[in-house]
């Protein structure tokens, strides 16, 4: 009787398709991931059904759970301009390197006096920086000045960006280039604290504000 022959197969499997797939996914996640600059504070926002995405050119004020106020401005050029105006107003001097570092920073929450020391810190150490946030009481309303100077600076840079887009033959909407005013309040923060910030905006005649929210299901347009 002839013996049944078991076909000898190699114990190693062809891994090429798996590698292909793995790298495809790696590439996808690498491109899809957006790295946020490290923020000195983490904020849990409330949710809403709004589907407007956060605009590019914005001035953002963050309010943490205990009511400390942080300031952020997205445009690096406008940041430099706002900083130089603030520096001359509060008589704080910054060197070239500090200005450059500041323009690439994200949210900060400290007084003008503390700012040079804060800029000099390394990224992670900024989280431990002891500060009371940007002051906004009536005697020392630094937040108001920050907003006023930033708005002027961001309007300028937005205008040049608009002109450039026009030169390229696009038909841009001027409103897209204007800075938007965003309030990012922690859900657990007391509303009165946010209202103080809102009042600062209103004193500057900036009445169209936006709240940062996470998205949730909309019962009206389920799509």
């Amino acid at each position: 009787m002839p013996k049944i022959k078991i076909p000898k197969s190699s114990p190693s499997i062809d891994m090429t398709p798996m590698v292909d797939l793995a790298f495809l996914l790696v590439t996808f996640f690498m491109l899809a991931a957006s790295f946020r600059p490290s923020e000195p504070v983490t904020v849990e926002t409330a949710s809403s059904v709004s589907d407007k995405v956060i605009p590019e050119n914005m001035i953002m004020v963050t309010i943490d759970p205990i009511g400390k106020v942080y300031f952020n401005l997205t445009d690096p050029e406008a940041r430099k301009e706002a900083l130089s105006n603030m520096a001359s107003l509060y008589k704080v001097s910054f060197n070239e390197e500090q200005i450059e570092k500041f323009s690439l920073m994200s949210t900060f929450g400290c007084t003008m006096k503390e700012l040079p020391a804060y800029i000099n810190l390394a990224g992670e150490a900024r989280k431990e920086f002891k500060t009371e946030g940007v002051p906004l009481d009536s005697l020392d309303n630094q937040l108001k000045n920050w907003i006023a100077y930033s708005q002027a600076a961001a309007l300028n840079t937005g205008k040049t960006a608009y002109e450039e887009a026009k030169k390229k033959g696009l038909s841009p909407d001027a409103n897209d280039f204007k800075p938007k005013f965003i309030i990012r309040a922690d859900g657990k923060a007391v509303y009165k604290k946010a209202e103080k910030v809102i009042d600062v905006f209103r004193e500057l005649n900036l009445n169209n504000l936006s709240f940062v929210t996470s998205s949730e299901f909309n019962p009206n347009n389920p799509n």
């Binding site: 891994m15 793995a22 504000l209 936006s210």
Partner: protein
């Protein structure tokens, strides 16, 4: 497949030195390890849902407080917010020492759920919501352009019959409560939302309600 046929030309291959045949396969395990490591890293660190923004127009600040009697509020609802609690009354406010024809204003408590706040707003704003539904049907049946729809919806929201919302907060209300309320108001297609300061009489009423 990629083999060089070495047939023919035989005869002198006896003395030829053969190159050592090595497998063309490379061990891919380390590469796969690396790929999956990177994959895991990016899957865990990437954030997909970008934060959204909800816009809200605040009333402009006056230089001097205008001392005229507040205009009569038709079709209005006022929400009084406290920490995780919400009360409302409709129409105008009548304090205990200046009662209206139905006596002083009484607060009604509700909650942030779909059966609470959303239902209250949907009932009161049925004028807009019913018409909106009709327009949505027309858009779906291609009898109305969607640009016309958005324009008419905006007009509808501004009509006198549409509900207007006043939001008043006390010192304990949280931002989450406020945003949840504004969100519900937007779901109910209400165009006029005004966050305004609370009157002392309203605060008193709210505090007695909270103590209950």
């Amino acid at each position: 497949m990629a083999e060089i046929a070495d047939s023919g030309g035989g005869g002198h291959d006896k003395g030829k030195k053969r190159a050592k045949k090595s497998s063309t396969r490379v061990d891919m395990t380390p590469m796969v390890d690396l790929a999956f490591l990177l994959l895991t890293f990016f899957v865990l660190t990437s954030t997909f849902s970008k934060p959204k923004v909800m816009s809200l127009a605040y009333p402009a600040k006056m230089d001097k407080p205008v001392d005229v009697n507040a205009p009569k509020l038709n079709n209005g609802i006022t929400f009084l917010l406290s920490k995780d609690k919400i009360f409302y009354y409709t129409g105008e406010f009548y304090s205990a020492d200046r009662p209206g024809k139905d006596g002083p204003t009484k607060l009604t408590e509700t909650n942030f759920s779909a059966s609470g706040l959303r239902k209250v707003l949907a009932d009161l704003n049925s004028y807009v919501l019913l018409r909106k539904e009709g327009m949505v049907k027309k858009v779906k049946a291609k009898q109305m352009a969607d640009t016309t729809y958005t324009r008419e919806l905006e007009q509808l929201k501004g009509k006198p019959e549409a509900l207007k919302v006043l939001v008043k907060t006390d010192d304990k209300a949280l931002c989450k409560n406020f945003i949840d309320l504004i969100d519900e108001v937007k779901i109910a297609e209400i165009g006029v939302i005004a966050p305004v300061p609370m009157l002392p009489a309203e605060l008193k009423l709210l505090e007695t309600q909270l103590k209950k």
